[in-house]
């Protein structure tokens, strides 16, 4: 029993970081309804950002978060204005192909810049704390993952407030519902889409910078995260930022509880099985608004 509870706790911690991985996609795909198959590659760039920061500048990889967020916000905007804006009005296929192209471009650029070697972030606060556990009611909580989870939660809530409670967020929602009506009140849809892409890229790259403390960075690291993010956003429901958080926690827990009973290879199978099940029973997602 404790074993299961322990797995649930671990899963919740991991789920918080997954939430940050998924929330960038929750904006681009869930809210603005645009496809991005290079989502995981933006995460990969964030990982390399943290790695470069810690090895070249000898600073804590966590300090890479603000610059990574800033640079990747610009990269996201650029991806929209240079690429996605041109394929936005056409078939969804155009968006799929454009972002698959982006996927190869980013991955191969990373190979050219960093080679395909596995890179490990070392010497940061989180790695120095590794092995330290907090004990509570017979359960132990790894301190590094707890810090990472808390960081993810804070960023997540900031985004939630931005989208749900500010007028800028209302304008994003209005644009996603009805571009023409948005223009009639003076909202510039292209600006909204560009900022949405900037936010999406920044958030997933920050998730990457955090994850770099736990996983090796290499150019092909991204794709599994893309798949995971799509599953979480669809599970949580379109247009629902908090739904994304809950779905991410669920995925984290399902993964880690599965591992208690079955070989690790099954953990993703169970995540996608529950995704398929919910897709059948509740196609709008668990908490979807539309």
């Amino acid at each position: 029993m404790t074993l299961v509870l322990q797995a649930v706790v671990n899963g919740l911690e991991m789920g918080l970081v997954y939430a940050l991985v998924a929330v960038g996609l929750a904006i681009i795909w869930g809210l603005m309804e645009m496809i991005n198959f290079a989502h995981g590659e933006l995460l990969m760039l964030g990982m390399f950002g943290a790695w470069w920061f810690s090895t070249t500048l000898h600073l804590d990889p966590l300090l890479a978060i603000p610059p990574v967020a800033l640079v990747m916000f610009g990269v996201g905007r650029l991806i929209y204005t240079l690429l996605m804006r041109r394929v936005q009005r056409g078939e969804t296929f155009a968006q799929i192909f454009a972002t698959i192209g982006l996927f190869f471009f980013l991955q191969n650029s990373a190979v050219a810049a960093f080679t395909s070697d596995y890179r490990f972030v070392e010497g940061g606060l989180l790695s120095r704390l590794s092995g330290i556990n907090l004990h509570l009611a017979g359960l132990s909580v790894g301190l590094p993952l707890l810090i990472a989870g808390a960081l993810a939660l804070v960023l997540f809530l900031a985004l939630y407030l931005l989208v749900e409670r500010t007028e800028f967020g209302l304008a994003l929602q209005a644009t996603s519902e009805d571009r023409e009506a948005a223009m009639l009140v003076g909202i510039r849809p292209q600006r909204m889409f560009a900022v949405a892409w900037g936010l999406g890229a920044a958030l997933v790259a920050v998730a990457g910078a955090i994850l770099a403390n736990f996983f090796a960075a290499y150019p092909q690291v991204g794709f599994p995260f893309t798949v995971l993010a799509y599953a979480i956003v669809a599970l949580g429901g379109f247009g629902s930022i908090l739904g994304t958080l809950l779905a991410a926690l669920l995925v984290g827990v399902v993964q880690s509880v599965t591992v208690v009973y079955l070989p690790p290879a099954f953990k993703d199978a169970f995540v996608f099985a529950s995704y398929l099940l919910i897709g059948l029973l509740r196609p709008q997602g668990l908490f979807g608004k539309f």
Binding site: L170, A181, L184, V185, G186
Partner: protein, 244 residues
């Protein structure tokens, strides 16, 4: 009254608008609306009324022709920049932000003017014009009744205090009592704020009762323009739109 002599607030000159290569929806349409004037636009289904209003609002780009507003040519002004000039469109089918609340829809109506004093003034004015909306401030726009939704669509368009308001069939799908209430509000805005109104309306007698002047649009061309009284008496309007 001689509105043609006064410099027009809005003027469209020889507008040609097409959808794709095939459908030529407007074929040389010219209209003008003077400051503070109420003008009706009537025409059968598919005549091009919505096309004309969308073109004036900048949502459609004309193939040829010019749009002037307040002495300035605005063809090149993108749609989102036009509300700030003082023009607003209440679109066909209301087009509310259905997942947002009534209050949030109104806030977005003033998106380009964040001045709190302006916002407060406009909200007070809108609550006064449409008291039912104030009782529904926290309700999602998608759950409003047809009449309430239309009121919100108009209220949202008023939030920047336009001088020129276009309305595309505001009475569509609304019970007659509410249609009267909405037309009364338009009459008040015209009288109290000298708001110029360009009104597309199926209910031709009601529209011409409110308007000083009217145009009849048929398959993309203006076929008649006259003061409302004369239009009501004309054979074309009596036969085609009043069923007499």
């Amino acid at each position: 009254m001689a509105p043609a002599a006064e410099a027009p607030l809005l003027e469209a000159r020889e507008l040609h608008v097409a959808y794709g290569a095939g459908v030529r929806a407007l074929q040389g349409v010219s209209v003008r609306v003077a400051p503070g004037e109420v003008v009706a636009l009537v025409g059968a289904n598919g005549a091009g009324k919505t096309t004309l209003l969308k073109t004036l609002a900048g949502l459609l780009t004309p193939v040829a022709g010019e749009v002037w507003f307040d002495g300035r040519r605005i063809d090149d002004v993108p749609a989102p920049d036009r509300p700030r000039l003082g023009m607003a469109l209440v679109p066909e089918g209301r087009r509310l932000f259905s997942r947002l609340t009534v209050a949030e829809n109104l806030a977005l109506g003033a998106f380009t003017n964040a001045d709190p004093a302006h916002r407060r003034r406009m909200l007070e004015r809108v609550w006064e014009l449409f008291p039912v909306l104030s009782a529904r401030a926290g309700q999602r726009a998608g759950t409003l009744s047809g009449g309430e939704g239309q009121m919100l669509a108009i209220a949202r368009a008023l939030m920047l205090r336009p001088r020129f308001l276009m309305l595309d069939e505001p009475s569509l799908g609304i019970m007659p009592r509410l249609v009267d209430a909405i037309l009364d509000v338009l009459r008040r805005l015209h009288r109290e704020e000298r708001l110029a109104i360009f009104l597309v309306e199926q209910n031709v007698p009601a529209a011409l009762d409110l308007a000083d002047r009217g145009y009849v649009l048929q398959t993309g061309r203006i076929v008649l323009e006259a003061p409302s009284r004369d239009l009501l008496a004309s054979d074309l309007v009596r036969k085609a739109y009043l069923g007499l």
